[in-house]
């Protein structure tokens, strides 16, 4: 079963995944503009894009554990997933700047510094920039594999900040954002390697 999926995954070109992930963007804008997202479409669209950003980051984080524990190999799609997460966050931010805040720069600038959930969201966005810039083979070669991998571990922090941002937008503790954080922490936990000292101790025990 896993082997069959892996065989098919090898045949699917990555551009197909880019295409598949781009389609929801114009579709959601169309839906929001034509009443499909309720009478307050700006907020609904903004939240939808933020939610999809976080979900793509989660899927990206799942690639390694899926390979490690289920031998499911989706590694070739990981770059597309990450780049598209960035595209979604740009759309999310763009909706905030243009549609939600109506280009009220002064108010936005104040909010970025004064409101922790916006500060955190903005920090996560800025951290995504170096990752998307280096998401190409040339950068990988230039930087070198080890340093590149180290840099891209920044996505762990980005994911946690994104989930915290989502939790803090709510007026009360909502289940859905907390679930996102729980899934992210679980995916990060699969990467945890006990330190050598601890490993030695457990080996003796």
């Amino acid at each position: 079963m896993i082997d069959t999926i892996n065989t098919y995954a090898r045949k699917i070109p990555t551009w197909a995944l880019y295409l598949l992930l781009v389609i929801p963007i114009p579709y959601l804008f169309y839906s929001a503009a034509t009443g499909g997202m309720g009478i307050e479409p700006i907020n609904a669209l903004e939240r939808e894009m933020g939610d999809l950003t976080l979900k793509l980051i989660i899927v990206g984080l799942a690639v390694t554990p899926l390979r490690k524990y289920l031998k499911l190999n989706l590694l070739k799609f990981r770059r597309a997933i990450g780049v598209m997460a960035f595209v979604y966050v740009v759309v999310h931010l763009g909706i905030w700047v243009v549609l939600d805040m109506s280009l009220r720069w002064e108010q936005m600038w104040g909010d970025i510094w004064k409101r922790p959930y916006i500060t955190i969201g903005m920090a996560a966005f800025l951290m995504m920039i170096p990752l998307v810039i280096t998401s190409n083979n040339l950068s990988l070669r230039k930087i070198g594999g080890a340093a590149w991998r180290k840099l891209h571990k920044l996505v762990y922090l980005i994911a946690v900040l994104g989930a915290v941002h989502f939790i803090m937008v709510q007026k009360v503790w909502e289940v859905e954002p907390l679930l996102h954080l729980a899934v992210i922490l679980a995916l990060l936990a699969t990467r945890y390697k006990p330190s050598q000292k601890a490993a030695v101790v457990s080996a003796r025990g």
Binding site: F29, G38, E40, I42, R115, K171, E174
Partner: protein, 264 residues
């Protein structure tokens, strides 16, 4: 006088549609999503309905809604409605002045505040079943705020009976305060001599004060209150400036000498 000015200002207001007013609501008894109240409040029975008036009044008792509203002067009030979440509507309420009701109940000397309580009906309120916040929802006003002619008890919108999601069959409307002060589906009104606890203040005292007057200069800790979006403009509606006291400057004298930054 001052009220005449407000009425003149109201002429320019364009009311939101019935659909907008009844599909985008906060009513946590029915869930925390904006469409939850419209989706989940259909089973709440609002007729018959009783309201208890107690505390420091000459004529306490439990009254049917019909008896309560019997000799009240019903009128339409087209008010701005500003949610603490920085969105706004314009709503044509039908109702009567709270002052008339309190005068009928007979306020005793020494009373300073009025407390309100929302119905708790777990069988038909899934937010109550899930205990999303502490219920019953409670709110309160200072007596002079409660007696102000702008403060009304609303029983309808657009000349129609109030929709359940809007707080049927009777709710408070205090147009110069954030929407959560305008408590819905009221079952108890208590006149008292102390400041009553209020639900959002209990949840987050740093974020929601007892007064909660609309004030573009005092921000919510998590978002600015300087501007708001009027619901109904679609995807490309732009923000508008939030007005002090939500555009009802005649209430300013209620707060003479008070620091509105600390008394938020």
């Amino acid at each position: 006088g001052a009220l005449g000015g407000a009425v003149a200002a109201q002429e320019a207001l364009e009311p939101n549609t019935w659909e907008e007013i009844t599909t985008y609501n906060n009513f946590y008894e029915f869930g925390t999503g904006k469409s939850d109240p419209a989706d989940n409040s259909g089973d709440m029975i609002t007729d018959p309905w009783e309201v208890t008036i107690d505390g420091m009044v000459d004529n306490p008792g439990t009254f049917s809604l019909a008896d309560l509203a019997a000799d009240m002067t019903m009128e339409e009030r087209l008010y701005r409605f500003r949610c603490v979440e920085a969105w706004a509507m314009v709503i044509p309420w039908n109702g009567f002045e709270l002052a008339d009701l309190l005068n009928k109940a007979g306020i005793q000397t020494g009373a300073t505040h009025v407390a309100f309580e929302t119905a708790v009906l777990p069988d038909v309120m899934e937010g109550v079943q899930r205990r999303v916040i502490d219920f019953p929802y409670v709110e309160g006003l200072r007596l002079d705020e409660a007696m102000h002619p702008l403060t009304i008890m609303a029983t309808g919108v657009y000349g129609r009976p109030m929709a359940n999601q809007n707080g049927a069959p009777i709710r408070l409307v205090v147009p110069w305060k954030y929407g959560f002060k305008s408590i819905k589906s009221i079952v108890r009104i208590t006149v008292t001599n102390e400041q009553p606890p209020t639900t959002w203040n209990k949840i987050g005292p740093r974020e929601y004060g007892f007064y909660s007057n609309v004030n573009p200069e005092v921000d919510h800790p998590r978002w600015s209150q300087a501007s708001e979006r009027l619901i109904g403009g679609g995807l490309f509606s732009s923000r508008q400036d939030t007005l002090m006291f939500n555009g009802y400057p005649e209430v300013a004298s209620l707060y003479d000498g008070m620091d509105l930054t600390t008394n938020y």
